[in-house]
Subunit: 205 residues, 2 copies
C-alpha cells in the first residue's frame, strides 16, 4: 500500500493524480496549513523538510515529486503508459528533462511571483525584474514546445504533463496565462482528466 502525505492545498494533489493515473491503491494522510499558510509541524514526522508530497511504500519514505513519479513508474507502469521504456535511452532522456523541468528551471520564477504578490511594500526591483523576465521566458518555452500538440511530448499524456499542470496552475492563479490561449487549453485538458478529478475529490486539492 502507498501512503501519500498530502498537505492541503499544494503540490501533492499532483502526486495523487499520478497515482490515480496508474490505477493504484493509496491512503492519503491529510495535513492542513495554518492561518499563515505554513505546513503544520506534524508533517515533519513524515519527512524532515516538513513538506509534501512524501510517500511511504514498502518500508521506504521518498520525497521530491519527480523522484516519486519515477519510482512509481518503474514499479507499476509495466506497459509504459506514462513514460517511454527504459530501453529507449534518448526518449527517456527527453522525458526526464521535462519531468525535471517543472521542479527545476520552471519553479523558482513562479514562486518569486507568488511571494511578491504577498508583499505589502513596493516591489524590490532586482527580484521583480528577474521574476517577470523569467516567467515570460518559461511560458514562451512551454508554449513553443507544446505547439499544437495535445500533450507536452506529443499525442499521449505522460508524467511530465503532471508537473507542467502544477506550474501552469500557478501561472493562472497569478494571471500570467491571459496571453497564452494554447497553454490555458492545455491546462484545462489536463485538469479535466478523470484521474485528476478523482485525486482532487480524494485529497481536497
Amino acid at each position: 500500500m502507498i501512503i501519500l502525505h498530502h498537505l492541503r492545498i499544494g503540490r501533492s494533489v499532483f502526486t495523487a493524480w499520478l497515482i490515480e493515473e496508474l490505477g493504484l491503491e493509496y491512503e492519503a494522510k491529510i495535513y492542513v496549513r495554518n492561518e499563515m499558510g505554513r505546513a503544520p509541524p506534524e508533517l515533519k514526522g513524515a519527512h524532515p523538510l516538513g513538506k509534501s508530497p512524501v510517500i511511504e511504500h514498502d518500508g521506504m519514505t521518498l520525497a521530491e515529486s519527480g523522484a516519486i513519479a519515477t519510482y512509481l513508474i518503474d514499479l507499476f507502469d509495466a506497459e509504459n503508459t506514462l513514460a517511454p521504456p527504459r530501453s529507449d535511452v534518448k526518449a527517456r532522456a527527453v522525458w526526464n528533462q521535462w519531468l525535471a523541468y517543472s521542479e527545476a528551471s520552471a519553479f523558482a520564477p513562479f514562486l518569486f511571483k507568488l511571494l511578491l504578490s504577498r508583499e505589502q511594500q513596493p516591489h524590490p526591483p532586482v527580484i521583480s525584474a528577474f521574476a517577470s523576465g523569467e516567467v515570460a521566458l518559461q511560458l514562451g518555452y512551454i508554449r513553443d514546445q507544446l505547439g499544437d500538440r495535445p500533450f507536452i511530448l506529443g499525442d499521449r499524456f505522460q508524467a511530465p504533463d503532471v508537473g507542467l499542470t502544477y506550474i501552469l496552475s500557478m501561472a493562472r492563479r497569478l494571471n500570467e496565462l491571459d496571453g497564452h490561449p494554447t497553454l490555458g487549453a492545455y491546462l484545462d485538458r489536463n485538469l479535466a482528466r478523470p484521474a485528476f478529478q478523482r485525486a482532487f475529490a480524494r485529497t481536497g486539492g
Copy 2:
C-alpha cells in the same frame, strides 16, 4: 563526442565535473556573461531557454542538470560508480531523490538569498523571511543526512554529490556555511577531487 555549452560562471562547471568523473571526452563551448551578469543571446542558439548546462550528444540536445547526469550515467557508467544499478529500484529511488533535490527543493531559497543580496533597498519582509527560514531548513536537512559520512549517500561519491556541491558553493558565497563545519568540510572534499579540478581548469568555472 559530447558538446557542453558552458556559461561562465555558473552551474555548468558541475556538468563538466560529472563528465570528467566519467572519464569522457567532451568539447566545451564557452559563453561569458555580460556586465549585468546575464547570459549572452548566442546561448539561445544552443537551447531556447538560453541557459546552461546544455549538452549535445548523438544528435540530441538536452537541458536540466539532473536529466543530463542521468542520461550520461545510463550510457557511460556501466560499472555503476556514480549511481546504483537500475535493477536496485529502491536504492535508485533514493539516489534520484537526492539528484532532484539540489535542483528542486534546495535551489529556490538560495536563489532568493542571492537576489536579495543585490537589492539596494530594504529587504521585502515576506521574501526575506521565506528565504532565511528555508535556507536554514535546507542546510539542516543536508547536514543531518550527511552526518559523519564522507558523501551524501555514504562512503562513495555519487552523482547527487555534484548537485549538492553547487548548492553548498552558493551557501558559502552567501556566508551561510559558518555554523556548519561538516558541510564546509564536505564541500572542500568535493571541490578537491581531481575531476572537479580538471573541469574548473578546462571551463574557467
